[in-house]
């Protein structure tokens, strides 16, 4: 990797100040960034670690009844501490990567990266979540803007993520055999107000909602409701591991399975 300065502030405000310098980047787990640095694909002047900031860690239910997870909370902590509040989210976190990844990687780091095959974006979008930054709140609908692209500005930090807690939910991930990211992943969340279905891993535009499925499932939360649907292959990813037609098929299969498994 190229040389860089390393800072480990203990408050959000110090981190923001440090990140204001030219070519500075936040480091929040580094499960994507560190390999990229080793390959010299990134050349930050300064890395600002978010691992030493107590106010960026923790899982709780806020006054509005939303599950709030601070930005630098690791997957392993979420798997453990969210389990009683939101079992489907806890299960999702417990199946990201391997133990080493789960004990380093953070939810804020993952969401800010917005890998099109990452798991959390599907959960956030299906849970009508909010991304809380040091500057503002961003609705999940507005946050994800395509592969590796988000609404975050330069130097803006995810301080927390809020999830509406559904009555039942489930995440189905079909593993890409090499990376074990989602070849396709489907998060189904059933609320009193209706059902939300978010798909990751499948689209060239990153995570998205499947509105036709949502409408049918809101009417009748049964896998057979989806029988009439065929997912279009337009805009779906084609790579070594699956064609658009295969991903379209997985979307339907996994959505049905998520409906069956939702609890």
């Amino acid at each position: 990797m190229y040389d860089f300065e390393f800072e480990k502030p203990s408050s959000i405000s110090d981190a923001i100040t440090l990140l204001s310098s030219e070519e500075a980047m936040p480091l929040s787990g580094g499960q994507t960034l560190i390999p990229a640095l080793k390959q010299r694909l990134n050349a930050p002047s300064k890395l600002v670690s978010l691992a030493g900031i107590p106010e960026l860690r923790g899982v709780s239910v806020n006054e509005g009844g939303m599950l709030e997870i601070k930005g630098a909370t690791t997957h392993a902590v979420i798997a453990k501490q969210a389990s009683s509040h939101y079992p489907a989210l806890s299960a999702l976190a417990s199946h990201i990567g391997d133990p080493a990844v789960r004990n380093r990687g953070t939810i804020g780091g993952s969401l800010a990266n917005n890998d099109p095959a990452a798991c959390y974006p599907a959960a956030v979008l299906a849970s009508n979540g909010k991304i809380i930054s040091n500057k503002r709140e961003i609705n999940s609908e507005d946050f994800f803007q395509g592969m590796f692209t988000t609404a975050l500005d330069e130097g803006e930090l995810i301080t927390a993520v809020q999830f509406e807690i559904p009555t039942v939910a489930n995440y189905q991930k079909f593993l890409q055999p090499a990376s074990r990211f989602a070849l396709t992943g489907v998060f189904v969340a059933k609320f009193d107000s209706g059902v939300r279905v978010a798909i990751t891993g499948a689209s060239e535009n990153g995570v998205f909602r499947w509105s036709e499925a949502e409408a049918l499932l809101s009417d009748n939360f049964s896998p057979s409701s989806l029988d009439v649907l065929t997912f279009s292959t337009d805009g779906l990813i084609s790579d070594l591991h699956g064609t658009p037609a295969y991903r379209a098929s997985l979307i339907k299969t996994l959505t049905k399975r998520a409906v069956i498994a939702a609890k």
Binding site: L240, H241, G242
Partner: protein, 787 residues
């Protein structure tokens, strides 16, 4: 009391103590005082002419010692190919030069263009980024059929074409072969791909070159399976150095799988640069670099035809294969699709007419060479897949069809150049049927189907030629090396023994297994015996470890050397006991005089050998050290039968392996636990090929699977618990231990079992699918189910 030492005992691997403690000594652990680091500028395009290389800015970068380009290597040789294949017209193969650093052209992504030696690795890398190269990109040559068309772009301008050779084995008369097919009752044809693989040993390659100006001696530390071979090739063909001034050391090596057999440019570079810079020079491959520099494996496109008579006897096999060599001839690349592939096309079956045709093709990709099994998996896969296909077409029991056609009398001369010395294919199949519980399959399928899934059972046989090889035979076939091995048994005065062996252990467990043999022969504790390997300055000139040859060839040399030691020790014992040599017996480490109660211990004899106060100096020399070279009389022929049961999720195409049974005949077995482990590892790699792994290039020659994000290695949860049975044993008839070798069997025998099982499952559900190319990925299975 059960036997607790020697041959046949599952001793735990003594080397694992240091490996598991992190105390191994790998090449990257070796740091020589004053060493500099090299980083290579590698081509990012598959094919281009180099117009100019401007190193001026880079030379002035901090820490730069020296920058090398192809011009610095004009006075030395290129990397040699160790096997000359003669084509069907008796012409030698086309053999292009393989420079250390590119000369005028680059021919694959990763081809080295320049090298920076600097004080630190990062400085070398910085300076590489400052080198300016001017390239004219040329069209990539990727598809083998396209590469053989008349107007194809040539990978090597100086060659006639991209065809390295057009080779035929077996029946060369096309009309005779055609007549056999014309007379057939049934013909089955199968076209398939045996996909390219990346070997991916856990330890990437490393080289450290050192030069001593005072003694004019070179030392190369390198991740190699065969240090003497590297020394010979590098000295004699590349750098023109006297062998006695060059030491090559391959210390602990973290897996080879074939890809560490070959002599690589980086080894010659570090040796050359250490002298040129008068500093030790170290290169450590990154994983990314290994994907574009380590020789890759397989990559055959094949059409196989099988003819049967009205009684379902196999009457003829005809195969036509395009074999990808990549951009250059790696050390043994030419032999893999020919003498290691075509010769196995008879398999376990008495097919009278066989014709094998292989066209080997240059493409702008990483060179292809031996990878675990090397040619034999490619032969086994096509043969066992086409037999499976014909059994399905004719609605025959695939096991019965195989049994009907088994070779049952030995020795057996195949139509493809080999003589199988021994075997019992019904014996291994019997063991398989018992271990795999074929009778219970119907119930298991029914249980699986009740859960909404499909279940399939796949069976196949395999045979391989191991213990490579008789030097006189391989010499006739084009090998530019002998393939004997060597061992020196050095008995110390106090009775402990150091055995210097030409074989190299990089996961096989030689340090445990070889002492078991010597302990058995002498009757002393294994802890008194130590194996020395991997250092050309310590070991005799052996050819290293590949082709499952270590115990069969080097082990035999060790037996011969130990016999010499014992014979001499008996003479010493006879002298000490004032008896005749012929009356001396050795048992449990005690020499005794037959029919008397007189005896002397092993240690008394060894002490007498080195403190020869009372010694027959007039008859024999003092000391107790013997060397033997062993050149085998034939290959060995391990064989077996494998069975795989899979479940398929019909909604996603996901295949899961539920059961896997292997019945192998390895002849005699020295350490059953280690043999089990070798088979487990081989099957794991075979399952990796069958379901997961694929090295893919796009049409521009860029590697699409250049990291573990896209290259799917098998993981623990991809493989089942294996049932392995090695109790069907027909000992090798021509080596002293009766051993055959077990290192590659699993990788050879398992891919067809997996694919046969997948096809069985799909057909059970009415899908009209008779083949899916590997890797049988979920998306491919799903697509096959849609058509």
């Amino acid at each position: 009391m059960p036997k607790d030492f020697g041959i046949g005992v599952s001793q735990k691997r003594r080397e694992d103590v240091r490996f598991l403690k992190g105390a191994g000594n790998y090449t990257d652990d070796i740091n020589v005082v004053g060493q500099a680091f090299v980083h290579f500028l590698r081509s990012e395009v598959a094919h281009a002419t180099i117009n100019s290389i401007d190193t001026s800015a880079a030379s002035n970068m901090p820490g730069v010692v020296r920058i090398f380009t192809g011009a610095d290597f004009e006075g030395v040789g290129g990397l040699p190919c160790g096997w000359q294949v003669t084509d069907r017209n008796n012409e030698p193969m086309q053999e292009p030069p393989h420079p250390i650093l590119a000369q005028g052209k680059v021919r694959h992504v990763g081809d080295p263009i320049a090298a920076v030696v600097a004080d630190t690795y990062e400085q070398a890398r910085d300076a590489v980024e400052a080198i300016k190269i001017d390239l004219d990109e040329l069209p990539a040559v990727i598809d083998m059929a396209d590469a053989l068309t008349e107007n194809a772009v040539k990978v090597h301008d100086e060659l006639k074409s991209n065809l390295c050779y057009d080779w035929v084995l077996g029946e060369t008369d096309n009309e005779k072969v055609q007549a056999a097919f014309d007379n057939a009752e049934h013909i089955t044809t199968l076209e398939l791909t045996n996909q390219r693989l990346v070997a991916n040993p856990m330890e990437p390659r490393v080289a450290v070159g050192d030069y001593n100006q005072a003694t004019e001696e070179h030392t190369l530390f390198t991740t190699s399976q065969n240090p003497h071979v590297i020394r010979l090739l590098m000295c004699a063909f590349v750098l023109g150095l006297p062998e006695h001034k060059v030491r090559v050391v391959a210390p602990d090596v973290g897996g080879g799988f074939g890809t560490k057999i070959f002599h690589y440019a980086e080894e010659a570079f570090c040796t050359f640069a250490a002298k040129a810079c008068n500093r030790p020079v170290k290169w450590t491959s990154s994983r990314s670099e290994s994907f574009v520099t380590d020789a890759q494996g397989r990559d055959h496109v094949t059409k196989i035809e099988l003819a049967l008579d009205s009684e379902n006897n196999f009457t003829a096999i005809r195969t036509n294969t395009l074999a990808n060599l990549g951009a250059y001839l790696s050390t043994f690349s030419s032999s893999v699709p020919t003498w290691l592939h075509g010769t196995l096309m008879a398999g376990n079956y008495k097919t009278p007419v066989i014709q094998v045709n292989v066209k080997a093709v240059f493409t702008t990709t990483v060179p292809v060479d031996a990878y675990r099994g090397a040619g034999r998996p490619e032969a086994t896969f096509q043969l066992e897949r086409v037999i499976d296909k014909v059994a399905r077409e004719l609605k025959l029991d695939p096991v019965a069809l195989r049994r009907q056609n088994f070779i049952t009398e030995f020795p057996y001369d195949t139509p493809v150049a080999l003589t199988y010395d021994t075997g019992d294919y019904n014996g291994t199949m019997n063991k398989l049927e018992a271990a795999a519980d074929f009778d219970g399959f119907a119930q298991r399928r029914s249980d699986t189907e009740a859960n909404g899934k499909l279940r399939g059972l796949g069976v196949n046989c395999y045979i391989e030629a191991c213990g490579i090889a008789p030097s006189n035979i391989v010499g006739m076939l084009g090998a530019r090396a002998g393939l004997y091995d060597a061992a020196t048994v050095r008995v110390n005065a106090t009775g402990s023994i150091s055995v210097m062996v030409g074989a190299h252990s990089h996961g096989q467990g030689h340090e445990t297994v070889f002492p078991q043999v010597v302990a058995e022969m002498i009757g002393i504790d294994e802890s008194q015996i130590e194996i020395v390997h991997g250092d050309s300055s310590k070991i005799p000139f052996g050819m290293g470890t590949y082709g499952s040859r270590s115990i069969a060839v080097c082990g035999s040399a060790m037996v011969r050397a130990t016999e010499k030691v014992i014979n001499k020790a008996k003479k010493i014992a006879a002298h000490l006991m004032e008896a005749s040599d012929a009356d001396i017996e050795l048992k449990d480490g005690q020499f005794s005089v037959a029919g008397t109660d007189k005896s002397v211990a092993w240690g008394e004899v060894t002490l007498a050998a080195y403190v020869p106060h009372n010694f027959p100096l007039q008859d024999i020399e003092p000391g107790l050290e013997e060397t033997a070279f062993y050149d085998p009389a034939n290959f060995t022929f391990p064989a077996g039968a494998y069975a795989c049961e899979v479940e398929i999720d019909p909604d996603t195409g996901q295949v899961s392996i539920e059961r896997f049974c292997a019945a192998d005949d390895f002849g005699n077995i020295v350490n059953p636990m280690i043999v089990d482990g070798q088979v487990h590892g081989g099957i794991g790699q075979g399952i990796g090929q069958a379901l997961l792994e694929s090295c893919s290039y796009d049409k521009d020659g860029q590697l699409l699977s250049g990291s573990y994000m896209d290259y799917a290695m098998p993981r623990a949860d991809d493989v089942p618990f294996y049932a392995v049975d090695h109790s069907s044993q027909t000992p090798c008839t021509h080596n002293p231990l009766g051993v055959k070798g077990c290192g590659e069997a699993g990788a050879i025998g398992s891919p067809p079992a997996v694919v046969n099982a997948v096809i069985d499952a799909l057909q059970s559900a009415g899908h009209d699918v008779d083949h899916i190319d590997m890797p049988v990925s979920p998306s491919r299975v799903w697509a096959a189910m849609q058509s």
